[in-house]
């Protein structure tokens, strides 16, 4: 067994780097770009680590990393503070509970589970915003953002593949 595999997983590698990548990509997509007269979609990159971290291993750090990432999205997008942290954590929690059930499933099956967790997060966000603003967001707009976010599963898959077996204690 190689020595580097037997080592414990460095939190900066499996938590810090994805957080940084999500922050940068979210900022890039926040530029006012229009292509062919249409606005570009705005996927929620933070859903990728929210799903992948729960699959990789249970840990104390990911919930707080998601809290920080969600607060960053709220500040960047100017939304209600606390909305995206709550949505990301709501997506993270059931995956963490079902981790043993989901492990080992096929790529397509996992994509469907990822889309379901995204739907849960967006549904919870819609509900919270209804309570906060007293008005229902456009379901078409919610569905459109859910669709482009669900399309990001290959990134989550690569993150899971990279770190799922990295810590020998969680094989």
């Amino acid at each position: 067994m190689p020595a580097n595999v037997a080592r414990q997983l460095n939190p900066l590698r499996w938590l810090g780097v994805p957080v940084l990548i999500c922050a940068v990509f979210s900022l890039l997509l926040a530029t006012p770009i229009r292509a062919f007269g249409m606005q570009l979609p705005e996927p929620v990159f933070a859903m990728v680590p929210a799903f992948a971290w729960a699959m990789i291993r249970p840990s104390v750090l990911p919930p707080f990393a998601l809290l920080l990432l969600g607060l960053y999205l709220d500040v960047l997008w100017g939304g209600p503070t606390g909305l995206w942290p709550a949505c990301l954590l709501v997506a993270y929690a059931p995956v963490l509970v079902l981790r043993n059930v989901l492990a080992g499933q096929s790529f397509v099956a996992m994509w469907i589970w990822y889309a379901c967790s995204c739907a849960l997060a967006f549904g919870f966000g819609t509900y919270l915003l209804m309570l906060d603003a007293g008005a229902m967001p456009s379901l078409i707009a919610v569905g459109w953002q859910w669709l482009v976010t669900a399309a990001l599963y290959p990134f989550a898959h690569s993150l899971i593949e990279r770190y799922e077996d990295a810590d020998v204690r969680f094989r």
């Binding site: 006012p32 960047l76 909305l83 709550a86 954590l89 963490l96 966000g125 008005a135 707009a141």
Partner: protein, 415 residues
Amino acid sequence: MSLRDSPLGALKVPLTWTAAVALIVAVIAALAFLLGDRRETLRASAYDRVRRSADTVTAPVGKVLSAPVHWAGGIGDYLGSYIDAAGENRRLKVQVAADRQWRDEALRLREENARYRALMGVKTDPPITTVFARTLTDARGPFSNTRLADAGSDKGVIEGNPVLAEHGLVGRVTGVAPGVSRIMMLTDTESRTPVMVARTNARAILTGDGGPSPRLDYLRTHDPVVEGDRVTTSGDGGVYPRGLPVGVVVKELGGGWRVVLDSDASPVDYVQILLFRDFSQLISKPTLDSKAIPSAATEPPRDPPPIAAPAKPKPKPGAAASAAAASVAGKPAVSDKPAAAHAAKPHEGAPSPADAVHKPTTKPAADAPMHKPNPAKPASTKPAGGKPTAKPGAPKPDAPKPHKPPPPDQEAAPF
């Protein structure tokens, strides 16, 4: 000594449990943040220091990132106009011919409006100072539709200022920091804008829902709107000035009404921030709060009139108001003074009936000529003191009943 070597090192807690505890703590923190959020209000305190600092940091980054986009857009426009120069020239000639007719009509209407304003003594709105800015970031999701613009408190921008793009209203400022301001778009779920249909003056509230076309809510009257009607700001509430172009009405599949925004006609790269102050910003809240609340015991005693002799019926204008004033004072109406001089005087504290009788108002009311027309000489149509004059023969409104004046905060409240 490490934890493993300590006596607590033998304590084994399942990692899933600790992860669950961490998850619960994080969820509680997120909900606490959400409950404390007040971004939809116009108060400057609602936009906390963290957001201001974050916007200040994000603005230069967004400026750098959006610069290539603006350059690319400029190059594309240049190339497009160069290639399509001949066709554009033809279109512009047709448009100029059509616009010339509109210009003549506009000049005629402007002159006519100026005469009407002079005749009626209408007080026109003062011109509004504007600040131009460039948008740096754009949030376009269903839960938040906001933009950052590179003009902030250093240029006089404050929370609540309306923001216009090239073709129409886009939103209002909800947060300000030095050099940068946050604009809440009309499409944001928390955006509520008082608007009116230009054709019928029907009032409505433009409600954003994260989609591209906001809803028209709270429409009143029967069939107040048809497809294609233009929508402008109504000015109700004082947050927006009246008459800013908003968009065109379309019918949605469910039967409701939506507005296709004028500002969608072109990219919202550059915006114009109107340094417009609404009522709530003009009036100092501490000043309002410092005023003493009038006593509740302002209603005069309702004693029966001591003299049973009925008042002479006088057909003079204002008699009803005099009677009202006198009845409040506990005496029959015998004064020949203009009714408004008594009736319009509000009670301050609880004046005794004797004061009202023995201390007649010698100073004529400012609007006395309005209430005492000379039958032989019709009232002049010339504005007096900036107020419209009553037409001869027109039904005279009753003088206002003397009552406790409303508290100032009711007049100042924007909604």
